[in-house]
């Protein structure tokens, strides 16, 4: 029994603000192997975080 999607989304967000514990990391990874919607969500949240950081940079291109 793995965690539910809601908890997985909490961890993928938290990961951008602090390092996850080993237990958090492995339970998130396990959930992502079985849930494609969460895999998409994780990828998209990460992209948004990255391009937003790029927007702060005074340079060409935003990535």
């Amino acid at each position: 029994m793995t965690m539910a999607c809601k908890r997985a989304t909490e961890l993928m967000s938290l990961r951008l603000d602090r390092e996850l514990t080993m237990v958090e990391k492995s339970s998130l990874r396990l959930h992502l192997t079985i849930c494609r919607y969460c895999r998409r969500c994780e990828k998209q949240i990460e992209i948004l975080h990255r391009i937003t950081a790029g927007r702060r940079e005074d340079k060409d291109g935003c990535d």
Binding site: T9, I51, R55, K59
Partner: protein
């Protein structure tokens, strides 16, 4: 009158850039008002930003996006104010304000509801090169409850760490993480509907 500094841009360039400055003003103001408790201070800071931008137009080189460059000037002013004066200047965090509502995203088993399941995005990385992507992005941010929009912009657009955000807003770090989680999910959904499902991500 043409000074040496100005001569790097032709008069037409300067006029065009000044027009773009006026056009970007409302967005700068919305952003400053979100962060600062004193609305007059927010207007002053935006005014100072526009003056600084005009004075240093000669330093603006085409490789940076113009709006990003002006926005960067305001961002530095805001970060300085928050770091120097903290709670005195930041817009007060209303503890009674509702968090972004994510109930409709998950069912009773805490799995995605059918309508909320994340869809494939086409070439999302290229979107940030498109001018109106950030307009849609900002609309989605300002659609969040005010507290959430404030915390989200401090974290993602100003690049502050959560510890610093909590300190200046007098909220717990746990609270900060809960707000950011909900804000990111809402923003993801809003951009999917407002941008990525329209094939805008396609280039």
């Amino acid at each position: 009158m043409t000074t040496e500094a100005q001569s790097e841009h032709s008069m037409e360039d300067r006029q065009a850039l000044q027009q773009r400055l006026s056009a970007v003003r409302p967005r700068l103001l919305a952003f400053a008002r979100l962060q600062l408790s004193d609305q007059v201070y927010a207007e002053d800071m935006v005014q100072e930003t526009l003056v600084s931008a005009l004075e240093s137009l000669h330093r603006f080189r085409g490789q940076a996006k113009f709006e990003t460059w002006v926005f960067g000037i305001l961002r530095h002013k805001l970060i300085d104010a928050i770091r120097l004066k903290g709670r005195e200047v930041t817009a007060e965090h209303d503890p009674d304000e509702l968090l972004p509502d994510i109930d409709e995203l998950f069912d009773e088993r805490a799995h995605w509801t059918i309508g909320a399941r994340p869809q494939e995005w086409v070439q999302p990385e290229a979107s940030c090169e498109r001018d109106n992507f950030w307009e849609v992005f900002d609309l989605c941010v300002f659609h969040l409850p005010k507290n959430a929009a404030q915390v989200f912009t401090m974290r993602e657009l100003m690049g502050l760490e959560t510890a610093e955000i909590c300190e200046s807003l007098a909220i717990s770090e746990q609270n900060c993480w809960v707000i950011l989680h909900r804000a990111r999910l809402k923003l993801r959904g809003c951009l999917e509907v407002g941008w990525f499902s329209k094939g805008e991500g396609e280039v």
